[in-house]
């Protein structure tokens, strides 16, 4: 296969057989309860140096309580899949958790800027869909995937993409390496204790990340009975055998919204966006992350029941989000 052009960016090397072996050796096929607390899940399944993907954003159905716990545990040297993300990239960089980033889109500010300038952070350029395509290839068990975008961009030069002569059509065709992240954090509306999970509504690459990642931590608004899953199997987004840990996290996406459950805490969102744009993350982290012991502690200390009820009431739309 003739290579016509190739990017010079470092990339996580695809290893489909290695991934299959990981699945064989580490993913339980038995229906084993995996319910655990956020502390245990992050401690057990996120290691320094891991490649981390998380689904959706700090604003919208993201695994925000897990992200905050990861920061509290001061994980380091992570390689971040910064596709379709807003402030989380800056939060993790400010907290010293990240050393590399594959970028699709993030809310840029001085924190990431100075980390790059000072050589603490390396950035590789992609786009949102290029990254979700890479994860899709990882979830398919194949080494690379061809796509019809990304060619001709300057991002290409700073990526792991190549343009090849397609052996079937003879046309120049772009390929990107499959991505099998070490760990995925995904927030879902409902899951059973085994990890059978339902996501209602749109998202980036929830299904793909769950199948492509070596370790998968779900946080769920509700833990439901397996009988309920079996009653409507078409609604299962993620099967149990892909999942390593299930964390019950009501309001787990705050300050973001979860479709059908609660609206965003807009004042809190403005606080984190301003912290990102101004490059002053410490007060934010102190108040919302380090200053509390856990997600529940954050809800108790910084939110209170009345506020939580108000956010629930703000979610007026339920069509499509309740079975």
């Amino acid at each position: 296969m003739r290579i016509l052009a190739e990017g010079q960016g470092e990339y996580l090397k695809p290893d489909p057989d290695g991934y299959r072996e990981w699945v064989r050796d580490h993913k339980s096929r038995a229906l084993t309860p995996k319910l655990m607390g956020e502390k245990e899940a992050i401690d057990k399944f996120v290691q320094d140096g891991d490649y981390l993907v998380y689904e959706c954003t700090y604003l919208q159905r993201g695994p925000s309580s897990l992200i905050r716990e990861l920061i509290r545990q001061r994980k380091k040297d992570l390689w971040l899949c910064a596709k379709f993300t807003w402030v989380t990239a800056a939060m993790l960089v400010a907290a010293g958790c990240v050393s590399k980033m594959d970028v699709g889109f993030f809310l840029f500010g001085p924190i990431v800027g100075s980390a790059v300038r000072e050589g603490r952070l390396k950035i590789y350029e992609y786009s949102n869909v290029v990254m979700t395509n890479r994860i899709m290839a990882g979830s398919m068990g194949i080494p690379f995937i061809a796509l019809r975008s990304f060619g001709g961009t300057d991002g290409f030069k700073h990526s792991g993409a190549k343009i090849i002569e397609d052996p079937y059509t003879g046309q120049p065709t772009l390929i990107v390496p499959a991505l099998n992240p070490d760990v995925a954090l995904i927030h879902v509306q409902q899951a059973d204790v085994y990890g059978n999970a339902r996501i209602f509504g749109t998202g980036a690459s929830d299904r793909e990340s769950a199948l492509a990642s070596r370790k998968v931590i779900l946080s769920a608004e509700e833990i439901i009975d397996t009988d309920e899953i079996r009653r409507d199997p078409g609604r299962t987004t993620i099967p149990y055998y892909a999942v390593d840990a299930v964390v019950h996290a009501p309001f787990g996406s705050l300050p973001g919204a979860v479709q059908g459950y609660y609206g965003a805490d807009v004042v809190h969102l403005m606080e984190i966006v301003a912290s990102t744009l101004l490059g002053q993350m410490d007060p934010y982290l102190q108040k919302w992350v380090y200053g509390v012991d856990s997600h529940q502690d954050m809800l108790d200390k910084q939110m209170g029941e009345a506020k939580l009820l108000e956010l629930q009431k703000r979610m007026k739309i339920s069509e499509g989000y309740r079975p």
Binding site: F105, T132, L147, L174, S205, Y321
Partner: protein, 279 residues
């Protein structure tokens, strides 16, 4: 329909794009802001059967407006009464297989061949100012049949060559540059719309000025470009918003003024549209 006598630049730009929207066509709308406001205004006023999809996979919604700040994706309001909910990969595949007629995206910087920069201003390898990256813009510009780009009429935004190609236009302008880079045949930039002007592309894939807003002259537009565009044989005077357009924009689409707040105002004075005196 009554012509408005007082509107701002962003409202003018959104109305220009809204009037380009065609019934029965599909649009892939990048992010939120002006592109989303344009298609929503069009659907309510000009092209009710136009359809749009979003990057997170909402297909043809009837959204519950207005949205909370920043909640234009993966939100119940934005996805309300859609025909389907899919994912980023699937909506990308819809475009990759040719289902998306048009893309609408914002750009930080655009060049004479319609290439778009949303990554870095300056020398990427050296001193530069960084921005958020292409997001979904790269896929929209690569995969939709035609792409509408929205940006401001400023010299630093219209450059001969963008500092960084985040999303592809006609690349180096050579006839089959996009195909050689692996992009689908017959796709590419179609219009650039600013509050002051509308551009298309000539046969050499070079940006061409086709119309200017009535509150600026051709010379003013050219003075806010760092290169000379091709010129259409006749430069059209562009239409302005109606009162009906503005009522919708202000009461439903941009209630908090997040999209339209930061731009200059235009008023009708002695029968001519002019920039309002700065208060």
């Amino acid at each position: 329909m009554t012509k408005a006598t007082h509107f701002n630049e962003r409202e003018q730009q959104i109305c220009l794009v809204a009037r380009m929207i065609e019934d029965g066509r599909t649009y892939w709308v990048g992010g939120a802001g002006s592109p989303l406001a344009s298609i929503l205004l069009a659907k309510k006023r000009y092209a009710p059967t136009a359809t749009y999809v979003t990057e997170d996979g909402v297909i043809a919604p009837e959204p519950a407006l207005p949205f909370d700040p920043l909640m234009s994706m993966v939100s119940a309001e934005a996805g309300y009464r859609a025909l389907q909910w899919v994912s980023m990969n699937l909506v990308g595949f819809h475009a990759q297989t040719g289902f998306m007629d048009y893309g609408i995206i914002n750009a930080l910087q655009v060049d004479s061949y319609g290439n778009i920069n949303s990554t870095a201003i300056g020398d990427y390898e050296g001193e530069h100012r960084r921005f958020g990256g292409p997001g979904g813009g790269d896929s929209i510009a690569a995969l939709c049949w035609r792409t509408i780009v929205m940006t401001d009429q400023q010299k630093r935004k219209f450059v001969p060559r963008v500092d960084f190609i985040s999303s592809p236009g006609f690349l180096d302008g050579s006839p089959s540059a996009r195909e050689a880079a692996g992009l689908p045949r017959d796709t590419g930039p179609w219009r650039v719309v600013t509050p002051w002007a509308v551009f298309d592309y000539d046969d050499n894939r070079h940006l061409r000025l086709t119309g200017v807003s009535p509150f600026v002259t051709v010379e003013q537009v050219l003075a806010e470009m760092d290169f000379e565009p091709a010129m259409a044989d006749k430069i059209e005077t562009l239409d302005t918003p109606s009162d009906e357009d503005l009522v919708l924009l202000r009461s439903e689409l941009d209630v908090r003024g997040q999209i339209t707040d930061v731009s200059r105002w235009i008023e009708l004075r002695d029968g001519r549209f002019v920039f309002a005196e700065q208060g």
